[in-house]
Amino acid sequence: MSKEGISAYLTPAQMSKLNRLALNSRYVVEGTLAGRHRSAQKGASTEFADHRSYMPGDDLKRIDWKVLGRTDKYYIRRYQDETNLRVYLLVDRSGSMGYTSAEHPTKFNYACTLAAALGYVVLKSRDAVGMYIYGEKMDAALPCKNSFNELNNALKILQGYKPAQGTAGADVMHQIAESINRRAMVIIISDLLDDQPEIIKAVAHFRKNLHDVIVFHTLDPVELNLDLKRGAEFEDLETGERMIADPRAMAKEYKDLMGQFIEDYRKACSEMKVDYRLVKTDEPVDTFVRAYLEERKRLSR
């Protein structure tokens, strides 16, 4: 009997390594439940936010008597509201995500595993996780829930998908950006092999809506270094186009181009204050997630 849901992607040992980790947002978010993330709203917490002039109907308990004593005016003390985090995982299943060099998983499989690991970490922190799956179009939109069963179901749905033929990543991302109506965390897991300016515009759309965006640029090592020994007829996984080339002869130029492609994304994300990470499919997912979250935690202090 084949495994389903989260157990299809993560082993108990891996889940154990992820148990004590947490994914924190760098910005204020708007959740539906009380939680440990800063909210844009003022509410009940112990962290002072600011003062506001008293208005009829305000609770007298919130009047700041010390200020009244000094100024003879009524001010209400307000406190920072704390809410839970809503995390949306955008998993790309475009044709190019189906690529793998011999011994590694396909980029799509790796993206699924990464999504499972992140979803698990989010739920362990009692936050909510939702998922969007897209290829040539929006394939599935799963709302945010803070339930393991919901995550399991989402992963089962994800398991049912295979890489598509083409890609329309930018359009779908714009569509998703419009559909998320409150500040949340958006995690894009994709190889971003699409029209680069359009993809950057789409990411900018998320930032415009004040979402905390993380981009996991998922690439195969061979795709990065073109480390192939023999000449071959290469076939584009999305368009089906073919060309004969000797990878040894063009490796240097290829690497320069690929390096420039990644650098363009990194720069654009840096300008938009988007957390851009390059993920290689030859790295174990749990190791990568653990390293990433620990670094993120360290930087947030």
Binding site: D227, M243, A245, M250, E253, Y292
Partner: protein
């Protein structure tokens, strides 16, 4: 001309098409490989296409060349330089071997003397000839020596002749020997390959003749001494330059002894010149006299230059001393010793011929003591019976007329280095003096001087440039010698080589001199007694006479040493030679002395260095008369390079080797051709390495994109 010893393998050259075929075959057998996107591949291919095309072309070219080189190598290509040698080098040939026999060929190398090495090489060359090949042998010395003059096919005889060769004592002129060898080859009938082998030590000196006479100039003149342009172009020349690349030699090259005339009790000064070939070095020079060391000094010599060192010798007894200057023994011992003679005289014996009244003053002046044996007085008629060689000077005082025999003896005596001083007298008219042909001028008449014109100051005529006979009597400052003349002899026209040395007054010649052979003849215009003038009574009579004796004696001094040579006038080498003297060479053999017909003797040749001795008729012991040395010009061992020699000689087919093995290899390559298989294999290896390097350049460790961008474990990209 390029030929192939194994032409069947030329079919293997078709293998050069294999790389092209493989390339085309590989292009069709591509494997379809899925890839995420072709956009970067296309861009990379566009960027790298020209470079890749060039690399592919280069790889194809290298692989094709590699296979071609291997194919050529197996076909055994052979490069022949002889036009007629295409039929397995069986063309008949005439060969001339020229062996340098200068004494520098005795230079000792690790593997023996150069001359022995060259002889062995010559034997190997002869043994390597085919049965019908003809060979002649010449030795290059001061003059070429034909050993096998006519080319012969009897190779065993030639080998024997070569093995019997001995090194000479002199220099060598390779140009003359080569010209003679070429002339000999030219005289042979039949069209054969002509080869000349020059076996030498590589000393530049031996090739000086080529250098001094460029090919165009040498093309003129005697057939036997010229090398024509055609010969330079068509004949194959092989040279074995077997000498040391940086020869090291030091030797005494010359010795000067002063004063030239040594008398007992005098101190002799030696000026020794030391020649050096090689780097700067300290050289110890020693002087021996009769086997006893009399001095030793160390001098510093610069590289390839000469240096001088002086020695002082005193206490030399009268007699002839054999002296030797030596330098430490080196690789060329022949020139380490330089021999010379130091002749020390007890006194200068003088013969005064004439009647008593004419010779009285002169004898009284020269021999004031009755017991002085150095001055002898005799009648003129007795001269023919006296051995004039025993006297340094002969005074003829009123001795004329002389009989014919006496005139001949006197003339021979003067030519051999004696001094003849003539004072006129009453006994003979002026015409009688013309019998003696060696006089500076023939007397014309005698004139009586009036009393009022008698007092005349003696004036020394300054010596002119180029004047052979000279006179320079130093007088005390302020002294004006004056004589009173009663009667003088007037002189006719001066003979060749003559000069008036002293005048009485402004225009009256008082004394004239003439150089005759190696001797001197002086003629006074006054008598030797007081009948003609007061000259014998003056204070300067004796100094004048003494100077004449000494000056003449200095002119007749024999040189302390000679160099090997030929056709040397005997009176220049041997003092007072007479035809009944027996002169022996150092080896004990008699020295050949020839008469040219009018009693002028000359030495045909001085063939060996060393001390030559003379045995006078009736003498008990032979005396050393000649010290002969090799011409040290040959000791300058500076070698010449192959390129320099090619330029000097103008030979077109010119091959040089530094050892016999290399020479034999060159000969073999010249006759049989040079195999190029090894070169082709080396080229194949070179192409293989280049192909491997270019083909694997792309596979070499390149920095990966992620390493270049510094991607950390958490996926963070830190580009520089």
């Amino acid at each position: 001309m390029l030929v192939f010893a194994n032409p069947a393998f030329l079919w293997a050259l078709t293998a050069a098409a294999i790389p092209l075929m493989l390339h085309m075959f590989q292009r069709r057998r591509t494997v379809v490989t899925p890839f995420p996107t072709l956009r970067f591949l296309k861009a990379a291919q566009k960027r790298s296409s020209s470079r890749v095309r060039f690399e592919n072309f280069l790889l194809w070219l290298l692989r094709t060349l590699l296979l071609l080189m291997i194919g050529f190598a197996f076909a055994l290509p052979v490069l022949r330089s002889t036009t007629g040698g295409s039929w397995l080098s069986r063309t008949r040939r005439d060969v001339a071997i020229v062996i340098d026999a200068s004494y520098s060929m005795n230079y000792e190398l690790d593997r023996g003397k150069i001359f022995a090495i060259c002889k062995d090489a010559a034997v190997s060359i002869v043994n390597g000839l085919f049965a019908g090949d003809r060979v002649c042998v010449y030795v290059a010395a001061d003059t070429p020596i034909p050993v096998i003059e006519k080319p012969t096919t009897e190779h065993a005889t030639v080998v024997q002749a070569i093995q019997a060769l001995a090194c000479q004592h002199g220099s060598s002129k390779l140009d003359e020997a080569v010209a003679l060898a070429l002339h000999t080859l030219e005289q042979q009938d039949g069209r054969r390959e002509r080869e000349v082998y020059i076996l030498t030590d590589g000393q530049a000196l031996a090739w000086q003749g080529f250098r001094d006479a460029p090919p165009e100039a040498a093309a003129r003149g005697d057939d036997r001494a010229r090398i024509t342009r055609e010969q330079r172009d068509k004949v194959s020349f092989f040279a074995l330059l077997a000498g040391a690349l940086q020869p090291d030699n030091a030797c005494p090259t010359d010795v000067k002894v002063s004063p030239a005339l040594m008398l007992a009790g005098q101190t002799a000064r030696l000026n020794v010149r030391v020649g050096r070939t090689g780097a700067a070095k300290h050289v110890t020079v020693a002087v021996d006299i009769a086997g006893q060391e009399r001095g030793r000094r160390s001098i510093s010599t610069d590289a390839d230059t000469e240096a001088t060192v002086d020695f002082v010798l005193s206490g030399l007894e009268p007699g002839t001393h054999v002296a030797t200057v030596t330098t430490p023994q080196d690789a060329l011992p022949e020139d380490d010793t330089f021999q010379f003679l130091i002749r020390v005289r007890k006194q200068l014996p003088v013969l005064i011929a004439g009647p008593q009244d004419a010779t009285r003053y002169l004898k009284a002046a020269l021999a004031p003591g009755a017991a002085d044996e150095s001055v002898k007085q005799a009648e003129a008629a007795e001269i023919a019976q006296i051995d004039l060689r025993d006297y340094q000077a002969l005074f003829l005082c009123d001795a004329f007329p002389l009989d014919g025999q006496t005139v001949l003896r006197v003339e021979e005596y003067a030519k051999n280095g004696g001094v003849v001083v003539v004072f006129p007298g009453y006994r003979a008219e002026a015409g009688a003096y013309t019998e003696l042909k060696i006089l500076p001028a023939f007397p014309a008449s005698t004139v009586d001087i009036p009393v009022e014109l008698a007092a005349r100051p003696l004036k020394r005529i300054p010596n002119q440039e180029g004047q052979v006979v000279t006179f320079s009597l130093p007088l005390p400052p302020g002294t004006v010698p004056t004589v009173a003349l009663k009667r003088v002899m007037t002189l006719g026209e001066l003979q060749e080589g003559s000069a008036v040395l002293v005048t009485a007054g402004d225009d009256q010649p008082f004394m004239a001199g003439r150089a005759v052979g190696r001797g001197r003849v002086f003629l006074f215009t006054v008598g030797a007694n007081r009948d003609w003038s007061t000259f014998p009574l003056t204070a300067f009579f004796l100094p004048v006479v003494h100077q004449l004796i000494r000056q003449g004696a200095g002119a007749s001094v024999q040189p302390p040493h000679l160099t090997l040579g030929a056709h040397l006038p005997v009176n220049e080498a041997v003092p007072n030679y007479r035809d009944d003297d027996a002169i022996s060479m150092p080896s004990g053999l008699p020295l050949a002395i020839k008469d040219n017909g009018n009693r002028t003797f000359f030495i045909d040749t001085l063939p060996e260095p060393g001390i030559y001795t003379r045995a006078k008729a009736g003498a008990a012991e032979p005396e050393p008369v000649l010290a002969v040395n090799t011409d040290r010009f040959e000791s300058r061992l500076t070698p010449a390079g192959s390129d320099e020699l090619a330029e000097w000689t103008g030979f077109k087919k010119w091959l040089t080797a530094s050892d016999p093995e290399e020479l034999l290899r060159l000969i073999d390559e010249h006759r049989n051709g040079r195999s190029l298989a090894e070169i082709f294999l080396w080229l194949a290896l070179l192409f293989a390495l280049l192909e491997w390097w270019i083909a694997n350049r792309a596979l070499r460790a390149q920095t990966g994109a992620t390493e270049k961008m510094k991607v950390d474990l958490a996926g963070k990209v830190v580009t520089s």
